[in-house]
Amino acid sequence: MPTLTKPILKIHNLRKQFPGVLALDGVDFELTAGEVHALMGENGAGKSTLIKVLTGVHPRDSGRVELDGQTIAPTSPSAAEGLGISTVFQEVNLIPRLSVAENILLGRQPKNAIGAIDWKTLYQMATQTLTRLGVELDVRKQLAEYSIAIAQMVAIARGIALDAKVLILDEPTSSLDEKEVTHLFTVMERLRNEGMAIVFVTHFLDQVYRISDRITVLRNGRLVGTWPTGELERLDLVEHMLGRKVPQLSAQRVGSAAVPSSKISAKPVVKAQGLGRRGSVHPFDLEIFPGEVVGLAGLLGSGRSEVGRLIFGFDSATTGTLEVGGNQVVNWSPRKAIDAGIAWCPEDRKLDGVIPQLSVRENIVLALQSARSIFHPLSRAKQNEIAQRYVAQLGIKTTSLETTVGTLSGGNQQKVLLARWLAMEPKLIILDEPTRGIDVGAKAEIENLVAELSAAGVAVLLISSELEDLARCCSRVVVLRDRRIVAALDPSSDLEQNALDESAIMKLIAHHND
């Protein structure tokens, strides 16, 4: 632990106003060389904004930033890079149609004697940087050919490829699996030991306690405080973030216990037989009953999202059959799925989820509206009522119902998406990573919501990378490996009465005797 001498980066009284939102309200922040400094806060607390204002993406309204004692005011990320601040932004910002190598070294490509780009060296350098992160792949291929997790690693590689004084990582681990996180932390530790100052934003408490030296908490655009990690209890941290007492996150399962009996009597909501799609998921069988919470577990890229997409009809199946409510369906499409009472919260909310230009109200009523005939629109009053109800229920932070969704923070956008589907009052709701990028409070709310839905007889298909959540919420967990359903954990029918817990799921995921 280096002695906390003079801070390398000093932010004083930073203020940033967006139309309708005061995103940063006089924030102070200090960063010392050779530390990993965690920046924590609820969704919309202003973490990303602090970073974007610091690096010149957004102009600041007032405040002072000092780097190495010099007052700085970068007007663009490139200017910030020039000053020695390297940043990996929250939404993975890369160019999918360029090669992996170029994405890592864009803007600072090695040149040969005549000033032309030296492609050979470039590929070598990119490969080296990735190797440092424990990733090995063909850097000449287009980035688009790789998964979102790889893209996140590439973004990080880009961040560390620059010899910077300050490295900022805004939620770098949200799409990474355990192995990749470990690699990243090894690299971060080495950089810290080399004297680099690192800002680390995440919602994973475990990770914060594993890697960080100090923690700064923001709430509603204001600084709550900065503490050495060792001196801040987890519970206190959460309370600082929320500004209130932690809601009861019971260690027990929130899933309904009444499921098994209903399973015998009721017809399944959906029943997939040999359903599959060439190139993305192998044929599988799956039944989901009313009131059941079925979890899908597996490593990144194991095909969980694909299962959800197939059942919702967003992708078309190439083999197998699907029965919904006892009837076999043909030409399955989202339109028909919605009519049949199936809802789908996608994993990629930017792409398949929210409609950024439309208002909160319109986004919430959209699915409801599209299910009605175009000549029977919901009245404005009715729309407002529905939207208002869910904004209140889910605690969506928005200035008004007419705010455009694109300006909400990531977590709040996710909640709007949830509201849209809850408004449909579905029979089955497919939640793909619903807690990704969501703060602790909201996470508990969503878990409670799942329990409520289940109690009300709604079936839930929960796709999540967080085994803890799966173990807590699900009545049954189905495990995928290599795009294939390989096992199921079903306490009610399991003769050996295996408990449904994290370690059991983990064992099944990791099981590879073949």
């Binding site: 106003q17 139309p19 309708g20 939102v21 005061l22 309200d25 919309g44 509603n220 655009g221 204001r222 500004g243 919702f312 967003f314 989202p334 339109r335 799925a337 919605i338 009519d339 789908w344 996608p346 792409l351 398949d352 989820g353 929210v354 409609i355 950024p356 230009q357 439309l358 319109e362 959209l366 699915a367 509206q369 599209s370 299910a371 009605r372 175009i374 000549f375 629109p377 919901l378 605690g395 932070k397 200035t399 849209r420």
Partner: protein, 354 residues
């Protein structure tokens, strides 16, 4: 919850309605005319009909308005239709040919013309939705070949509709009067009101906007984006067909080369000036109509001033640019910041004095 800080309403967060800047441009132009060409605002009654430059603006502008209405919905879905000018020519040629070479009469001729226009729109829609060709390219194909088709239909010449075949219906469509106003104005107004009602009183508007803003997410909401897109291109074709008929009726001659030439650019301009972004999503029909009228006012003004039509594009470009700059978010936020700076100073003084 203690959200009051975040929810503090920004007093300067007022967003003008999309049509605001087009209206501002129109007002400025009219003001210039007010001082420079007083006769511009004179309206006389001749033979029971209104007569004057302003009436001309609406009358000549009717075609632009029709095209802009169709184009608005297309642009709102994130597309663009470059072929409308050619469709105007095709429709005119079909009507004229059916009238002059067959015995079917005016109603069938007009129906055939509209059918051709709607068909052209459907072709655009199919290329864009089923074959997934980019809208600019797909409609470029019809823009290029459409003039050829119109020429081919017309037999490589202009087709004059003799008065005995044109009157009275066709002539009335182009030159008749209703409530003392030229009939094209009525057609444009009716189409505008009907479209506005359909779009805003049903959920069509919302569907179009969501498809334009995020097609993939719209599909996930159960919206059939293929149908939505197909419909707007067909509608744009229909609007172009109406414009073609008015154009033909107005002069009694179908001219495949010149009918609707460059009108697609004017229509796109009207839509954009009216506050609809080329990237799709939110749209404003009223804005587009005002945009079209702004263009026509400008052209009529220039003709009245005697500016040669060849040089007329220069002031047109300047007006386009000015209106666009007014809409620019950068310029707006700069203005806002300057204003806010002043206010902040004001409020500080208040604090100090209290």
């Amino acid at each position: 919850m203690t959200q009051d800080v975040n929810l503090k309403k920004n007093r300067l967060g007022w967003q003008p309605p999309p049509a605001f800047y087009a209206l501002l441009g129109l007002a400025a132009l009219l003001l210039v005319n007010w001082f420079c060409i007083p006769s511009f605002f004179e309206i006389q009654v001749r033979d029971g009909n209104f007569y004057g430059s302003l009436i001309d603006v609406f009358n000549r502008g009717a075609i632009g308005v029709l095209l802009a209405i169709g184009m608005t919905l297309v642009v709102a879905t994130g597309g663009v239709d470059l072929s409308v000018g050619s469709v105007v020519a095709i429709c005119g040629a079909v009507v004229a040919i059916v009238l002059t070479t067959t015995q079917f009469g005016i109603v069938v001729a007009i129906a055939a013309g509209l059918l051709a226009a709607v068909g052209a729109g459907a072709v655009n829609g199919i290329l864009i939705t089923w074959l997934r060709i980019e809208p600019i390219i797909a409609t470029l194909v019809l823009m290029v070949s459409g003039r050829g088709i119109a020429k081919y239909i017309a037999g490589e010449q202009t087709v004059a509709v003799p008065p005995e075949l044109a009157s009275p219906t066709l002539d009335f469509l182009g030159n008749g009067h209703f409530l003392g106003l030229p009939f094209p104005i009525t057609i444009a107004a009716v189409l505008f009101v009907v479209t506005l009602l359909v779009v805003r009183r049903t959920s069509v508007g919302l569907l179009v906007e969501s498809v334009g803003a995020n097609p993939s997410a719209s599909r996930a909401c159960g919206i059939n984006d293929t149908v939505v897109k197909l419909t707007v291109y067909v509608f744009a074709g229909f609007c172009a067909g109406l414009a073609g008929i008015i154009d033909l009726a107005n002069i009694g001659i179908a001219d495949p080369t010149n009918a609707g030439a460059l009108s697609e650019l004017d229509a796109i301009f009207a839509v954009l000036v009216g506050g609809t972004a080329l990237t799709g999503g939110r749209f404003s029909l009223t804005g587009a109509v005002i945009g079209a009228l702004l263009l026509q006012t400008l052209m009529t003004t220039l003709y009245t001033w005697g500016v040669p039509s060849d040089v007329a594009p220069v002031p047109k470009a300047i007006v386009i640019l000015l209106v666009c700059l007014l809409q620019s978010p950068t310029l707006r936020s700069w203005l806002e910041r300057t204003l806010r700076g002043n206010r902040k100073m004001g409020s500080r003084q208040v604090e100090a004095s209290s």
